[in-house]
Amino acid sequence: MMRPAIEIQSLFFAYGEVTVLEQIDLRVPEGEFLGIVGPNAGGKSTLLKLILGLIEPRRGTIRVLGRPPRKARKLMGYVPQYPAFSRDFPVTVEQVVLMGRLGAGRLAGGYSHHDREIARRVMGEAEVLDLARRPIGQLSGGQLQRVLVARALACEPRILLLDEPTANIDMRMESELFDLLKKLNERMTILVVSHDIAFISGYVQRVACINHTLVCHQTGEIDAQAIGELYGGEVKMVHHHH
């Protein structure tokens, strides 16, 4: 069996006294397109932050490509839900995308020619190349989202994690973004948090429902048994209501 991209065992996490996640087991094979859904405050974003190593679990283990999350950070690309920056920050699209190359080259000085080439390539892929010199304050919500995807791609990740990438954009752009993700999935593992299970079902192979605990569903019922066997029988089929 292929080495899993992400393997989580008996994970428990709490903010202070408030339990957010308990008894989470999840195995994501390389190349999977996994949707993560669940109610607000159910722990979806927390799970992504744990996988990225931004926070540490209280109990349980997380392995990303066989390593602890902090050691695997550079193999992951992350698209946050609410960008932590202000929209009027004086920075261009290209400069933002280049930030994905940080940590790859030398410590001091500017970006290398190689970094700039990669940035141009991923901007092309995310269809924001013509916006390269635009300040981010002049972008629409959908354009900014694509820029953030390009920034994550500039990391040349093996795993792409997206937190509600379509929360602030309209339906048409949502489809375009997921078409792009579908294409990217041919070469990398993708985890996408969403509130819209009906919509993502058309794209992802499996849905993880998180509400403090986690239950996985196959999106195509016909293939369920076959894929279930492929995953080593770890996937449970459970009917529940959203």
């Binding site: 931004l54 992951m76 920050f89 930030m99 940590g103 920034r151």
Partner: protein, 266 residues
Amino acid sequence: MQSALAAGLLASIGCGVMGSYVVVKRIGYLAGGIAHSVLGGMGAALFLGFTPLHGALAAALLAALLIGWIKLRWQAHEDTLIGAVWAIGMSIGVLFIARTPGYTADLMNYLFGNILLVTPAQLWQTLALDLVVIGLVAAFYRQFLAVSFDEEFARLRGVPVTIFYLLFLCLVALSVVLLVQLVGLILVIALLTLPAAIAGHHVYTLGRMMVLASLLGMIFTTTGIVLSWQWDLPAGPVIILVAGGAYLLSALGSEWWRRRRAGAAT
């Protein structure tokens, strides 16, 4: 007056660079805390017989590290704690100056600046501080940009965010010290932020903002010093009023320009 003009030109460079960060990061209050606690170091230096500028430098760096540590450790109470550092630093300074024979009258000089205090030796020190600020910012421009733009993402890319944040605050402290002798510590924040804020109205990248802010700082300090000399007024407040007036014009002008463009588009 010539050394004052030269000090103004030199200080404007470091401040244009760091002031741009202060404006885009919106940490004017934090920079204010560093600036005001500088009085503690100047007072202590006077009392103990050192050069006030050295005391200011030590106090500014100490305050920067203390405030940085507070921010990283107790984020929720940041403003209260910065306010405390601000006031405690000033109180220490006032007490030391009160106990230093013959220096009480000079308190105003530290608070509001006195260009006559600028000596040729201080010009060299100002130049050295400038070179430190510009050298470090140039070497780590990518990291500083990433940390001030999106700290979480920078951390994920393996940038040592805490170290760069503290280094960044120390550089803000250095630029504050650059200006203290010119406009005094109460007016420092205006000269640190106003040129950068004006630049922010007109350019859209941080690098250009730094260049424009430095040039504007040079224009404001020079104009302020010349006017104050002609009218026999204290230079610090005149410089600040020149900068403040320019900011007001720039804000109104860019607002008018935006509306005109919005009007033309519809």
